[in-house]
């Protein structure tokens, strides 16, 4: 009997001891994982820095060696920390122009030690891969923005260049009897050329000139834009906003282009039929836009996310830009997405 009790006590003590070891190891691993996450955040998710500075944390978790070979946008970087042994966990990670071969080494781990080592390695690899995607996302975003700016400049600057070429050529070859005609042409064309040049400068400096703000009747602006996009629109009410014409037209264009493209791409569905309700109070002019033939939108939370687009040809920046412009002008752009109802955009602009 005594022997049975002794055995039970021994078993219990053993189980408790094993549990204590497991809890200790799990806690140590959790601390290391948390420390790596905090380190990554401190390093602003920079992959090369994380690779260089993560070794002390990994060593604390029982890792005996870390080796990595990084191709960072064409620049090779390599490093080995600790001792390179036989039993390692390797991974090849890629994202865009970044690729990484990384191996974590640990002693001859078995059982729970092997489990903890592998879990730590997987978490570490995931962290590295996330950093890669964050970097590539940033790079692609910057390129997208640059491409949009380039498109804009390409169109406007080539027009200016074409204008100057033609004007200079005509001034060179003009006959005396045609001089009055050329002068009349230049007199008519120059003011609009100056407006175009100002627009380019404004785009380059990325500033909206406050002095360009004016009282803009919204009904006309919406109707004109709807006609331009070939959209059927019923405008109810009237309102006047105090805003520069350029951002106002850009906001309206960016909102409407989604409806006109939906009409093009969703062949077979009813074309968009917009209802634009205008109202104003002392502080703001409000436009509420909805498509009476619209369908519920499955990803409303994505609408204002930059560079997210359903269409392969879209940059996915239109609504983001529209909201930025509205906020920049002292207003707001919101979307209401109710179950089984089409989207409703609410644009508030200062009066």
């Amino acid at each position: 009997m005594v022997s049975l009790y002794s055995s039970l006590i021994l078993i219990g003590v053993t189980i408790m001891a094993v549990m204590a070891v497991l809890v200790y190891q799990a806690r140590r691993q959790a601390r290391v994982n948390l420390a790596l996450l905090q380190l990554n955040e401190r390093l602003r998710f920079d992959l090369p820095d994380l690779l260089r500075q993560s070794w002390p944390y990994l060593a604390r978790a029982g890792v005996t060696g870390l080796s990595w070979k990084l191709d960072w946008f064409g620049t090779p970087l390599t490093r080995v920390d600790g001792v390179v042994g036989k039993d390692g966990v390797s991974r090849h990670l890629e994202a865009g122009e970044i690729s990484l071969d990384v191996t974590l080494w640990h002693g001859r781990h078995r059982g729970e030690q092997l489990y903890f080592s592998e879990t730590l390695a997987e978490n570490f690899f995931l962290l590295l891969h996330v950093d890669m995607w964050i970097k590539m996302g940033g790079v692609q975003g910057a390129f997208g923005q640059a491409a949009k700016m380039e498109l804009f400049l390409q169109h406007d600057m080539k027009n200016i260049a074409q204008f100057i070429h033609l004007a200079a050529e005509q001034l060179e070859v003009v006959k005396p009897e045609q001089e009055a005609g050329l002068l009349a042409t230049l007199r008519a064309a120059m003011p609009t050329a100056r407006v175009r040049a100002d627009r380019i400068l404004s785009a380059l400096s990325n500033k909206t000139d406050a002095k360009n703000k004016t009282a803009c009747p919204l009904a006309g602006a919406w109707q004109q834009a709807a006609d331009m996009h070939g959209l059927r629109a019923r405008i109810v009410g009237s309102a006047t906003a105090y805003i520069a014409e350029e951002p106002l037209h850009s906001i309206i264009d960016n909102l409407l282009i989604n409806y006109s493209e939906q009409s093009i791409w969703n062949q077979g569905h009813k074309p968009a039929s917009l209802e634009i309700v205008l109202s104003e109070d002392e502080a703001k002019a409000t436009a509420t836009l909805s498509d009476i033939h619209g369908r519920p939108y499955p990803w409303p939370e994505r609408l204002f996310e930059p560079f997210w687009s359903e269409q392969s040809k879209g940059l996915g920046i239109g609504l983001y830009q529209a909201r930025q412009l509205a906020v920049g002008a002292g207003g707001s752009l919101e979307v209401i997405s109710a179950d089984d109802q089409p989207l409703v955009f609410v644009l508030n602009l200062p009066r």
Binding site: L151, H155, N159, A161, Q162, Q170, L182, A188, P191, T192
Partner: protein
């Protein structure tokens, strides 16, 4: 007295459009203007004597992409009276030129182009336009087809059939009897083609 050669300028940049107008008018051309696809097509619809269009591909509402200009080209090529379209654009040369040529552009000029290059292209386009109008008066229709050789003859033949049927229907104001007469077909055949190609009166 015959009308002077008339050009339609489709360009959304007001200053450049005015400048181009000045250059062309000084050379004796009559000039009409439009600042977007829709107004350009309206002008063409109401002024059948327009022989040449000088077209910017980047038009509102998408001034930074060639889509509007290419759509204008496509719709212009389906018109009954011959119109030559010269593309004058700042769009990316490689892809835009290929697309424009596919859609039936007569010439492709990249901004900034010299006035002599523009005038040369315009005069050449008018020469072709006049000759095609003479051909049209003699009962000929010029049909342009982009055929992929590997698709075989049947596809190309059907495209030619469709374009000819559409062309004649437009010319006759969608009169099936007259169209059948002109094409030397039975009325039933015209109805067959209407169904086969999904031709509706409003898209003619």
């Amino acid at each position: 007295m015959s009308l002077p050669d008339t050009i339609l300028l489709v360009e959304d940049d007001d200053s450049l459009r005015l400048m181009l107008r000045g250059v062309l008018e000084m050379q004796g051309f009559a000039v009409l203007e439009a600042d977007c696809r829709r107004s350009g097509l309206e002008v063409l619809g109401t002024h059948s004597h327009v022989g040449v269009v000088l077209l910017d591909l980047g038009l509102p509402p998408s001034p930074h992409a060639p889509s509007e200009g290419l759509a204008f080209l496509r719709q212009t090529c389906d018109m009954t009276h011959p119109v030559k379209v010269i593309v004058l654009t700042g769009q990316d040369q490689e892809s835009a030129a290929l697309e424009a040529i596919k859609e039936g552009a007569f010439d492709f000029l990249v901004k900034p182009a010299t006035s002599s290059a523009i005038l040369q292209a315009v005069r050449r386009a008018f020469l072709f336009c006049h000759k095609e109008r003479e051909m049209a008066a003699g009962g000929f229709a010029r049909v342009q087809v982009n055929a992929r050789i590997s698709d075989g003859l049947k596809v190309a033949r059907e495209e030619v059939e469709e374009k000819l049927v559409r062309h004649v229907l437009q010319e006759t104001g969608f009169n099936v009897n007259q169209s059948a007469l002109r094409l030397g077909l039975k009325r039933e055949s015209i109805y067959y083609f209407l169904k086969k190609f999904g031709i509706e009166r409003q898209d003619g």
